[in-house]
């Protein structure tokens, strides 16, 4: 008689050496996994829920300014450094990981309008309402020494914005005129103008360094070429553009923060209409900054919220707000694309995570794999109603909620009116105008 014994062959469950991975016996026959879809769905649902549980984007605030933060600047090579200017002319340099202020001084009489670091990062340039351009050393002065600018240039015109070239020693200021400066000279290299309207923001293209864009107070956006005597083109919007930011990975794309609560992404080769309209804010958008990956951007608004948009989508994927955060004046996306910094009216700078539920710090391979798996699952089941509902649910302040309702009724009203007009007039007389074409008045050559 043969006696059958349960045999445990160690070859089947033990690894040969310590360096091998553990053996796992699996049968992938789909017949053996009749509930695979259902199991994955539940996993996706759980992942989404956990995402909500871990969604704690607020990391900390930097307080110290005695007036609203007017502007901020990133250091080109050090992620941990941040320079901020306030409405009372004070400039502060922050150490982000320590959340401490390392340096503070009054740089200007009146508002600090703009700060930029030079390409090497050893100096920064500030402009203020006192019509001066001051260059400061990035190093702290020695003990006992006073804070003195390395160089001061008195401009003939009022200054409102500044942008530094990404590879050269030139920078541009905006104000009454658009002026190009060299770091080593006290006179502007060139002045480019088109009309007499003041410009309140200017931005160098980070990739094609000779292209420059500015926002004018006549509701227009102007493109310049630093090599040409004359500007390139102008596009006039229905409302004023507050801020402009180029996409660092797509050199012909820029996004503008508009007074009409929307952001517009333009292809600079075709300014007739924006490529995309990003809605969701319920107040004038004051600031926009691209993630260094070029896939997303962050915007700050007068409605006291920060929103993160995916560059190709019309609606935001995230909204950040706190009870005490007032109107946003500036928002920045850190150069490692992990953090978002926001400066607001109530004198604080806040640090946020770019992904609300992301785990910071190094991850173990297994952890990483698990997170990626849940991410993939969420993507796979994204349009299932339960998953979608949980993923897109957000708490917002009451004023935002109310404003949204108000805006909705306004939109519906105008839509209804248009439909009525269309119904009661000759066919073709009231044309359908797509949303993207609604906000541009004209493109001027």
């Amino acid at each position: 008689m043969k006696v059958k014994v349960i045999s445990r062959n160690p070859d089947e469950h033990l690894r040969e050496t310590k360096l091998h991975i553990h053996k796992v016996q699996r049968n992938y026959d789909p017949d053996l996994h009749p509930f695979e879809a259902a199991r994955e769905y539940v996993k996706a649902l759980n992942a989404v829920k956990l995402d909500k549980v871990f969604a704690k984007p607020f990391l900390g605030s930097l307080d110290g300014h005695r007036d609203g933060v007017s502007t901020m600047a990133k250091h080109p090579s050090r992620i941990s450094l941040l320079c901020s200017g306030a409405f009372d002319g004070e400039v502060r340099v922050w150490d982000l990981p320590q959340r401490t202020c390392t340096r503070e001084f009054v740089a200007h009489d009146g508002i600090v309008r703009g700060i930029v670091y030079t390409i090497t990062g050893d100096r920064f340039i500030t402009i203020g309402d006192d019509k001066s351009i001051k260059t400061w050393s990035a190093d702290e002065p020695a003990f006992g020494e006073d804070e003195e600018p390395v160089n001061t240039i008195l401009s003939k015109t009022v200054l409102s914005g500044i942008s530094h070239h990404y590879t050269d020693n030139t920078f541009a200021t905006s104000g009454e005129l658009c002026q190009l400066w060299d770091e080593t000279r006290n006179e502007p290299l060139r002045t480019i103008e088109w009309g007499i309207d003041t410009l309140h923001d200017v931005a160098f293209n980070p990739v094609e360094g000779n292209i420059l864009a500015a926002c004018a107070s006549d509701r227009s956006i102007i493109l310049y070429d630093t090599r040409e005597k004359l500007p390139l083109r102008k596009v006039i919007m229905k409302l004023k553009t507050n801020k402009l930011c180029w996409n660092p990975m797509e050199p012909f794309v820029f996004t503008t923060a508009n007074e009409d609560y929307n952001l517009y992404t333009f292809d600079s080769r075709n300014l007739k209409k924006p490529v995309n309209v990003h809605m969701d804010h319920v107040g004038a958008v004051t600031y926009v900054d691209y993630s260094p990956t070029g896939r997303e951007f962050v915007s700050g608004s007068y409605d006291k919220t920060v929103r993160i948009f995916e560059a190709e989508k019309g609606h935001s994927r995230e909204i950040y707000h706190t009870k005490r955060m007032q109107r946003l004046t500036c928002v920045l996306w850190s150069l490692d694309s992990k953090y978002v910094l926001s400066g607001s009216d109530e004198m604080n700078i806040r640090i946020w995570k770019a992904k609300a539920s992301e785990k910071l710090g190094p991850l173990k391979p297994r952890e990483k794999a698990a997170l990626r798996y849940s991410e993939a699952l969420k993507e796979k089941y994204a349009s299932h109603p339960q998953v979608k509902r949980i993923a897109r649910h957000r708490h917002v302040p009451k004023h935002v909620y109310n404003a949204q309702g108000e805006l909705r009724t306004i939109k519906e009203r105008s839509k209804r009116k248009e439909a009525n007009r269309r119904a009661h007039s000759k066919p073709g007389e009231v044309p359908f105008v797509p949303e993207r074409e609604r906000h541009v008045l004209k493109e001027e050559r």
């Binding site: 994955e40 990739v207 794309v253 909620y401």
Partner: protein, 766 residues
């Protein structure tokens, strides 16, 4: 005006004429705005001041060239000049007026814009590819810089040696042939490897090294194992593997198999005559154990050894005989081939091998020449196994005849099949027989019989075969036995298959003939592409914290459930009920389209074949029950349960007296009864033998996707994308890793710089 001036003139005689003229000129020029005077040349200059460019006044003062030439006209001497001037004036054109400044600037601006647009256009392709890339790693192009330190080719300088006289002389006799080598590596160096290529190469090399190392380590480990048992098992496994290969070869390429068999046999023979196995047999060992105490066994052993010695000597002698035989059996193709090759000719295969081969060959030829015959003989040889088959076949044939003519075809193919498969079995038998023969030969050798005689009586009977097998069973396994066993197994399998084919009902046969797919299904096991991602561009559901929307919805839902149900019922009831008159039997029955289920339907249904039988079984079992009536009853109950009942809202005593002896007013009561429609349309109203539970889906419906997500164009595509699982438990590790690749990867703490123009220009990172 003129009169006045005259009058003035007359009145005032002392007026200076010059001044007067000036005044008049001024007055006349009052309405002509020309402050700058027309230029007149004082001395010749090359530069003309821009301030002197004045609107030309078409007054009489300007001199035209043709006027000048008029004076020259009548003189013959100047006729040439006149002509020249005329031609010149005809050719020249005055320049156009320059554009107005705004217009000119606009043109310039458009030109500039076009230029910069071209500059930006260069990025188009890159941006498009980045946007559609399944994965992007930031910082872009952050491949660690590979610094390739050029290792100096270690060319050892050919050491100089003092040559001896002899060497010199030899060199003089045979001048050194100059060799030119084309170094392929150098040729490649002209086009240095790109970074990616270099990395790939490195990776490959590393992989190879790792593999080598791994193999080495394994070999070392295995070499260290001293266990005899392990080695024995290993050897046996190897042999088994070889056998398996051989079997496969036999099926696919019999010629090759024959050759291989030859080789195996040779190896075996070599092993055998190496005399290593003199004392290792079971018998010898037993004897050895006993030899200590038993004289006889000792004797036997000694005898055996002597015999072996004798045998070895004899084999050397019989070599010549085998040669002769080889010449005799020169009809073998393999032999012929060897004759062509003088090198191979020297090596003679052992005799039993040649015998076996010849036997096999004969069998093969026989089989190929007349399969039919063999078929019959096979049946003769195995009377116990085949009769049943034969009977069954006969039955099948009978059935065939009864069936329609078109069904005859598949049957004929079936019989063909049987015909085809039989030869194979017989050939296998042939192999067995050959082996048996060999066994016998060995025995013959032991008995000092000439092997040639045994090879002659090839024709074998079934009795003989059976006996040999029985004899073999007791002996320890060796290569031949293994072959034999393998062949047996093959035979058995074939027989089983045959039986199966014969036993199958004809309808199934037809099916299998129609689509061979059913027998051998192929699955597409490639990893599905998942380049389509759902794009959800929607507003977030933004609510203030206090307002818990969901609960409200739920509450409302529970409250309104009855009401809405009622409303829907009423609305449905009000609809004109057209479908009532439809007779379900009049409709064409549409083939049911199957929905894609979560599990791919891979299982090959052998159970389906039994479906018909099962149905019969069920029918038999429920013969007595009247299922149809039962079902009707059940359906009626179901309908009754689902129809809404009238709601009686009467409160006894409300608005009237209540109690014993008081009859409530029926007319009044009627007002408080909410009447439900009598006829509620049901989905299964006309479906006959079908009950549709309309509430079944109520729970799962809110969990299902109601709209096709954006980039997908058909439900099928979307379902396909959802169906394939991505988890580790369901797919292999490699696929899993592929599925969970994130679309954007960033490195912690690494600064992501804007895209660089060097990517476009293709400058390599060095």
């Amino acid at each position: 005006m003129e009169d006045d001036s005259d009058h003035l003139e007359f009145s005032d005689h002392e007026i200076d004429d010059k001044k007067h003229d000036k005044i008049i000129a001024n007055v006349l020029n009052l309405n002509k705005v020309q402050n700058v005077k027309s230029p007149y040349r004082t001395e010749p200059t090359t530069q003309i001041s821009e301030f002197n460019l004045v609107k030309s006044l078409s007054n009489n003062h300007t001199v035209h060239i043709n006027e000048l030439t008029k004076t020259l006209k009548d003189r013959r001497k100047h006729a040439e000049i006149v002509q020249k001037l005329k031609s010149v004036s005809g050719r020249t054109k005055t320049l156009l007026k320059p554009l107005e400044k705004p217009q000119a600037e606009r043109i310039k601006r458009t030109l500039n814009y076009e230029k910069s647009r071209l500059q930006l256009d260069r990025w188009e392709a890159l941006v498009a590819s980045n946007r559609s890339a399944s994965q992007l790693r930031f910082p872009l192009g952050s491949v660690e810089k590979v610094k390739t330190i050029e290792k100096e080719a270690q060319v050892y300088p050919s050491t100089f040696r003092v040559k001896s006289e002899l060497q010199k002389k030899i060199e003089a006799l045979e001048p050194k042939v100059e060799e030119y080598r084309i170094d392929t590596d150098e040729a490649n160096n002209e086009f240095p490897l790109t970074l990616s290529e270099l990395k790939e190469k490195r990776k490959e090399a590393a992989k190879l090294r790792a593999h080598q190392h791994f193999k080495e380590a394994k070999a070392r480990r295995q070499n260290k194992i001293k266990s005899k048992k392990y080695h024995r098992i290993l050897r046996r496994e190897k042999i088994k593997q070889k056998l398996k290969e051989f079997e496969e070869l036999q099926k696919t390429n019999p010629e090759e198999a024959l050759k291989k068999l030859d080789d195996i046999e040779k190896a075996r023979a070599e092993e055998r005559f190496s005399l290593r196995h003199k004392g290792t047999g079971q018998w010898a060992r037993n004897k050895q154990v006993r030899a200590k105490y038993d004289k006889e066994s000792r004797k036997e052993l000694a005898q055996q050894l002597a015999v072996s010695r004798e045998l070895t000597q004899k084999t050397k002698l019989t070599n010549s005989d085998s040669e002769d035989e080889a010449i005799e059996s020169s009809n073998l193709p393999s032999k012929q081939a060897n004759e062509n090759n003088p090198w191979v000719n020297g090596v003679k295969p052992s005799k039993d091998v040649t015998d076996f081969v010849s036997g096999y060959r004969k069998f093969w030829n026989e089989v190929n020449s007349n399969a039919q015959e063999v078929n019959e003989t096979d049946e003769c040889e195995k009377p116990q196994a085949t009769p049943a088959n034969g009977v069954k076949m006969g039955k099948n044939k009978m059935k065939k005849m009864e069936r329609t003519s078109n069904k005859n075809k598949p049957l004929s193919t079936l019989s063909n099949k049987v015909g085809c498969e039989k030869p194979q079995t017989t050939s296998a038998n042939g192999v067995k027989m050959g082996k048996n023969k060999m066994k016998k030969m060995e025995r013959n050798k032991n008995a000092n019989k000439p092997p040639s005689t045994s090879s002659n009586n090839v024709s074998s009977t079934s009795d003989w075969e059976v006996s040999t097998i029985e004899a073999q069973l007791n002996q320890p396994l060796d290569v031949q036995d293994m072959f034999g066993i393998a062949e047996d197994k093959l035979n058995k399998k074939l027989n089983q298959k045959l039986k199966k084919i014969e036993n199958k009902p004809e309808s199934n046969n037809i099916k299998t003939n129609k689509k061979p797919k059913g027998v051998k299904q192929t699955f597409d096991l490639t990893i599905p592409k998942r380049n389509k991602k759902q794009i959800i561009d929607e507003e977030m559901l933004e609510q203030p914290r206090e307002l818990n929307h969901d609960d409200n919805v739920n509450d409302n839902a529970s409250e309104n459930l009855n009401l809405t149900a009622l409303k829907s019922i009423i609305s449905n009831a009000n609809k004109p009920d057209e479908p009532v008159n439809i007779n379900p039997d009049k409709f064409i029955r549409v083939k049911q389209s199957q929905l894609d289920t979560a599990v791919p339907d891979i299982s090959i249904t052998e159970e389906n074949e039994e479906g018909a039988d099962q149905r019969d079984l069920i029918m038999e079992a429920f013969e007595d029950d009247d299922i149809a009536v039962d079902f009707e009853k059940e359906k009626a109950e179901e309908i009754d349960k689902d129809t809404p009942k009238d709601i009686d809202l009467n409160l006894p005593g409300w608005g009237s007296w209540a109690g014993t002896g008081i009859n409530p007013n029926k007319r009044k009561n009627r007002r408080f009864i909410i009447k439900m429609p009598k006829k509620v349309p049901r989905r299964d109203a006309n479906k006959g033998a079908l009950i549709i539970n309309e509430k079944a889906q109520a729970k799962i419906k809110p969990l299902l996707v109601s709209e096709l997500p954006f980039p997908f164009k058909s439900v099928k595509d979307y379902e396909a994308s959802i169906r394939a699982p991505i988890g580790r438990t369901f797919v292999p590790e490699k696929a899993f890793q592929k599925f969970i690749r994130p679309s954007v990867v960033t490195k912690m703490g690494a600064i992501i710089k804007p895209i660089d123009r060097s990517i476009l220009t293709g400058v390599k990172i060095k």
